[in-house]
């Protein structure tokens, strides 16, 4: 398999996802199938080909730096799961 259970557990940690043992098993199998398929690109000689990033196809315009009205604090907090009217409230950090 191109990806191990340990790899899956590691990326799950990076991605802040908690997986059950069964999920780790399933994801290892399914991601393995996809990575096996993707391995077909390994046979291509791509060293002389530049990567295609959008910045190169058109300059990205920026608007003028003029302040305009944006979300109010009240609106910005409206969808928060927990807030005190000024701040987002989260569980303890340290």
């Amino acid at each position: 398999m191109p990806i191990s259970r340990k790899d899956v557990e590691h990326v799950a940690k990076l991605a802040r996802l908690q997986l059950t043992a069964a999920e780790v098993e399933q994801m290892t199998r399914e991601l393995g199938t996809v990575l096996d398929y993707v391995a077909r690109l390994d046979s291509l000689d791509l060293d002389t080909i530049d990567p295609d990033f959008y910045e190169e196809s058109e300059s990205l315009p920026q608007r003028d730096d003029v302040p305009e009205d944006s979300l109010t604090q009240v609106d910005a907090l409206k969808n928060a799961p927990d807030d005190d009217g000024c701040f987002f409230i989260v569980p303890r950090v340290v």
Binding site: L14, A15, R16, M27, E30, V38, P51, D52, Y54
Partner: protein, 504 residues
């Protein structure tokens, strides 16, 4: 409205616009009729996550008042339209089909929604979709699956399956979808309607919930090509709020629309007819359509996209990498759901992140986040993401070479017909492989359309796809319209008509 006029619900924007303009119907009656129709068909179709009834009826009355005062905002004024739940709507719950955004009320409108509202369109509701647009069948919605209007036991395609099913079933006159790898075109093909993926940067992505930012585009799903032109004309063009939006103005999409097939060079893509997985009657319908265009005056040329077989691998590396980054924002802090952690004193911020994301995301989203995180993780960035961008260069070059010989490419939209619910969810790779014909356009940022090309042997819709070069939407829609004239285009689905016994 009278009983005989329920057929207006399956009509076009031009037809209903004329009826509104000459006073034979009002927007209020029309909008009411649409909601009555939705009520009749939703138990079988489930194309909507949320309806916007009271607000829609209010805005319909406003449209009627404007018309009475000779102050109509134009053709779309008073016309009921739905929006994929991936696109945010001010004051109207928007979830992108995910549990993690349940209860999210956007504080602003997407640019496309703002523009539709400014043109007087009535927003009737939010369409069902695969969670965060990740899927090709609308079975990965946290709010239940959508059914195909032509056969309720089959999928409508995806991810914009709710949009395509709604339009096919006469629930509104257009819908906006999003297309990252075919999510507008494939459901349009499965539901026998028209779906346009514009050139990357042609339509603002401001307010489109991000999946893969270098691939996502918003576009219209409609019952005919002309309606798609009307909607794209309104939603497209520069937007200072999206720096990837092209600064060139949207050209007039209607002036060349009826230009016809004479003189058009249509390129048949050699590699597109080779895959083992291509259903024979789909290949046949597409080739027959090309031959009809030739008989009507177009020239058929053979072209090659040699890198097409690498597109799926490059796509799934690019899309999952970008998705893993975009979906990092769902952390249970600023919006959306937070897992109930109880009052345990030991709970810290990271526990909350972990639990919120694990409970809030469905299996396909988790799969893609994991794959994308792996692809971007230390030591793998060059091997995966950068390699995929090199393939992207090759695919882009293929298209440019092909467009030296033709005005538009012609190929199937999907290699398979609408499949049965549940048939493919157990094998993610098989589901990905069915995107072969649509994803190359997103990688190359070119524009494409799916047009109804009749039915297969089982009576299920077949879509033919045309692809044009960057910013060539006028040509794209001209070709699509010429095709529609040959194939006959949209026809109302019999199972839905069976549900509608008597009108209001």
């Amino acid at each position: 409205m009278t009983t005989s006029s329920t057929s207006v619900l399956f009509g076009t924007i031009d037809e209903v616009g004329t009826a509104l303009a000459d006073g034979s119907i009002t927007s209020l009656d029309l909008t009411r009729a649409v909601f009555d129709h939705i009520e009749a068909i939703e138990p079988d179709i489930h194309a909507f996550i949320r309806l916007n009834r009271s607000d829609a009826l209010k805005t319909a009355e406003e449209a009627d008042r404007r018309r009475e005062a000779n102050a109509s905002l134009g053709l779309l004024d008073g016309i009921p339209i739905s929006i994929k739940d991936q696109i945010i709507t001010k004051g109207l719950e928007t979830t992108a089909g995910s549990k993690i955004l349940q209860g999210y009320i956007p504080p602003y409108d997407a640019t496309v929604v703002q523009r539709l509202k400014a043109a007087g369109a009535i927003i009737i509701g939010k369409n069902n979709q695969d969670e965060f647009a990740m899927g090709s069948s609308t079975e990965y919605s946290a709010y239940g699956a959508t059914s195909n209007p032509y056969d309720f036991s089959r999928v409508p395609g995806g991810s914009s399956g709710g949009s395509a099913a709604a339009v096919a079933a006469g629930a509104g006159f257009a819908s906006l979808g999003t297309d990252t790898g075919g999510s507008i075109r494939q459901p349009a093909a499965f539901c026998g309607v028209v779906g346009v993926k514009p050139t990357y940067g042609r339509v603002s992505r401001f307010g489109s919930i991000a999946f893969a930012s270098s691939l996502d585009q918003i576009g219209p799903i409609t019952r005919n090509v002309r309606d798609a032109a009307h909607v794209l004309q309104v939603i497209g063009g520069p937007d200072p709020r999206d720096s990837t939006c092209r600064t060139v103005p949207m050209p007039d999409l209607l002036s060349d629309l009826e230009g016809g097939p004479k003189g058009l060079r249509i390129g048949l893509v050699k590699e597109a007819f080779e895959p083992d997985g291509l259903a024979p009657d789909i290949a046949e319908r597409v080739l027959e359509t090309a031959n009809q265009l030739e008989a009507a005056g177009a020239e058929l040329v053979k072209v090659s996209l040699p890198s097409l077989p690498h597109a799926i691998a490059a796509y799934y590396l690019t899309a999952t990498a970008e998705a893993s980054s975009n979906l990092a924002r769902y952390d249970g802090v600023r919006y959306g759901q937070r897992a109930n952690m109880g009052n345990a004193r030991k709970v810290d911020l990271v526990d909350m992140y972990n639990q919120t994301r694990s409970e809030g995301f469905g299996p396909e989203v988790k799969r893609r986040i994991l794959l994308g995180t792996y692809v971007l993780s230390a030591g793998y960035y060059d091997a995966f993401y950068v390699k995929a961008q090199r393939i992207r260069t090759l695919i882009g070059r293929d298209f440019q070479r092909a467009f030296e010989h033709c005005d538009a490419l012609c190929l199937p939209t999907s290699p398979v017909a609408p499949f049965a619910q549940g048939e493919r969810t157990s094998d993610p790779l098989q589901m990905y492989l069915a995107d072969i014909y649509t994803i190359a356009c997103n990688l190359a940022r070119v524009c494409a359309v799916s047009v109804p090309a009749g039915l297969d042997a089982k009576g299920l819709p077949v879509g033919v796809q045309f692809i044009c070069n960057h910013l060539q939407e006028p040509m794209l829609l001209r070709v699509a319209r010429a095709c529609e004239v040959q194939t006959g285009g949209y026809c109302p689905p019999a199972p839905v008509q069976g549900l509608v016994t008597e009108g209001p």
